[in-house]
Symmetry: C2
Subunit: 355 residues, 2 copies
């Protein structure tokens, strides 16, 4: 096998309503069946009219940009300084929701295509039906990523190619089942295309030749949407600072009779978690804590009797703060708790029931 990655030069400026299939085939009469077209999302957006008018300067421009960002945002993810990382309505996590002010006049912003898989399918269909060309289409854009500097191109949409190459069930020469099973090949094709597009000026389309066997499957496939991982499945759905603040706010909201604010992170041994919680607060607490494991029933797994340092009002206030500290520390390991203030022969105390 051997791949070629070729630039499509001479496409020129794209305007709303332009026929991309015609523009591409005119610029690249050398296209062949089986080629993968890697098309920069910006020209798809421009052809589809995914543009918004904005003032060219001043505060009005900033206000308008903020409004557009708000409209394109399904969920804020992280921020620092001027940077806003959000999840778009498509599910992509991108800086500024992929809104772009480059390669367009200053009176417009370019949005992402509304449905990049649909755009890929439409372009593929037009190329086949009007130009007799059986190709696959990948619609690409540039994204940042956690943990690594620099940006790479990835696929927003795809048609005529599987987004994933699946190695599940394959066995290596040593008899081990392959641990790396699903490769995001459309992202790698987008990256390969960028190498060629990025080095030439004004080349919005690259062709990867030799990757697919002909004839291509007639079906367009599931598109690049399968690469979108939902926030509920993602271990990094929120910026670290935002998630820490959520934890602090959850501690602030912890009701007297409360469920743990977040799902359990990991099944931690109960007694270990309890010991850890008591250790966490030991430096700050003046109250004393006596923990009794309970027989297994619905009332909880453990009762912690918390007594003040002395019988004065100051010590009772401290007791309240310490109980709240204990319950936040338990919640950090996914343990819910309730608190009851009670009196006995030894005075006012709090019973924390941990479940």
């Amino acid at each position: 096998m051997r791949l070629e990655v070729l630039p499509v030069e001479g496409i020129g400026d794209v305007r709303p309503g332009d026929d991309l299939a015609a523009a591409i085939t005119t610029a690249a009469p050398w296209l062949r069946a089986g080629d993968v077209l890697v098309v920069t999302s910006k020209i798809v957006s421009k052809a589809e009219g995914s543009l918004v008018d904005v003032p060219v300067d001043g505060d009005e421009r900033a206000v308008a940009r903020d409004e557009v960002l708000r409209a394109e945002t399904a969920r804020p993810v992280a921020r620092r300084g001027q940077t806003r990382i959000v999840q778009t309505h498509h599910g992509f996590v991108m800086a500024s929701a992929g809104i772009d002010a480059s390669n367009v006049d200053r009176a417009h912003l370019v949005l992402l295509p509304k449905d990049p898989d649909a755009s890929a399918r439409a372009l593929r269909t037009t190329l086949r039906e009007r130009h007799g060309l059986d190709v696959a289409v990948v619609i690409s854009d540039t994204m940042g990523r956690p943990w690594r500097n620099g940006l790479t191109d990835v696929a927003l949409g795809a048609a005529g190619i599987s987004a994933i190459r699946d190695h599940r069930g394959e066995v290596d020469p040593y008899g081990n089942e392959l641990s790396i099973t699903q490769m995001a090949v459309v992202d790698e094709l987008a990256a390969a295309g960028e190498l060629v597009k990025g080095k030439c000026a004004q080349v919005p389309v690259a062709v990867v030749r030799g990757y697919l066997d002909t004839p291509l499957p007639e079906a367009d496939g599931d598109g690049a949407a399968v690469l979108v991982r939902g926030a509920d499945q993602d271990l990094f759905s929120l910026g670290t600072a935002e998630a820490r603040a959520e934890g602090l706010r959850a501690a602030a909201r912890l009701p007297d009779h409360g469920r743990p604010p977040f799902p359990v992170l990991d099944e931690l041994d109960f007694e270990k978690a309890l010991t850890r919680a008591l250790a966490t607060i030991s430096a700050e607490s003046t109250a004393t804590f006596a923990a009794d494991l309970l027989p297994g029933d619905d009332s909880g797994r453990c009762r912690v009797v918390c007594r003040p340092a002395d019988s004065g009002g100051v010590a009772l206030v401290s007791l309240g703060a310490d109980v709240q500290r204990l319950r936040a520390a338990l919640a950090a390991d996914g343990l819910g708790s309730t608190m009851e203030t009670a009196e006995d022969g030894r005075g006012t105390h709090v019973v924390v029931t941990v479940s």
Copy 2:
């Protein structure tokens, strides 16, 4: 410009001490000056002897794997179920620290190369000095990433090529300065190489031809290390669940006289933050809060007098819990606070000073 991506077939099994440069040039006598060699890190590790002995089965194997993971981990990042995402001593954030049990016999695990940039430089030097071949070398591995399903290959090491293609200062045809300035081209080259390596069985090296101009710069350059973003610079340095737990634990540790536990997320208007904190706790609190902004001096920006619902012991305990709630809510917006319990004609109360 036009790229070719070619597989190097027939390298066969690599063993500790093997001469990779000789193996590659024997398998690919067609290599040329200016080619970029994309070399799977696993064969580099094997040649360098970055292997550890492990039991082939049973609990001992699991224990040994855990030990190896611990040794390779600089910092845990996130976990769920059996998955452990960690930052390695190199700075890479990878599942299982990149430790691999595939394409090796069951008595060994393959670690990442100790210094992949050094490995790339050494291979490049040997190819030039012993084989007269002036190429660039990228050492690649497969990584997952947040937000997107599927894996892609990226660069762990590089020599003879800049990891980043920098567009800073460039201007588009509309006169806009380019917003996307730094492309991680060695990651894109690794991805392009994987398209060829992944489709063929047992092809650990691919060649990207046509990307670099000859003659190559003599210097090896900064390597792929420049792509590693430190945890302090990363908005996603920790899993969301872990960061939330950190926030809860920070609330549990909040001392009576405390600095905010984390750096300020965003410069929020002080009065807005105070209003938000009071609103956050309003549903759970029985105490009453009276906030007074202070004249600007070192003593703080605001004093909140917190009074219990009544003069009983139960209300004093609740007051303590409520004050702790308030201070956690303030900390969520980066505001530090101290608490003092005091008495006056109206009884025991707490003064929270916010700074």
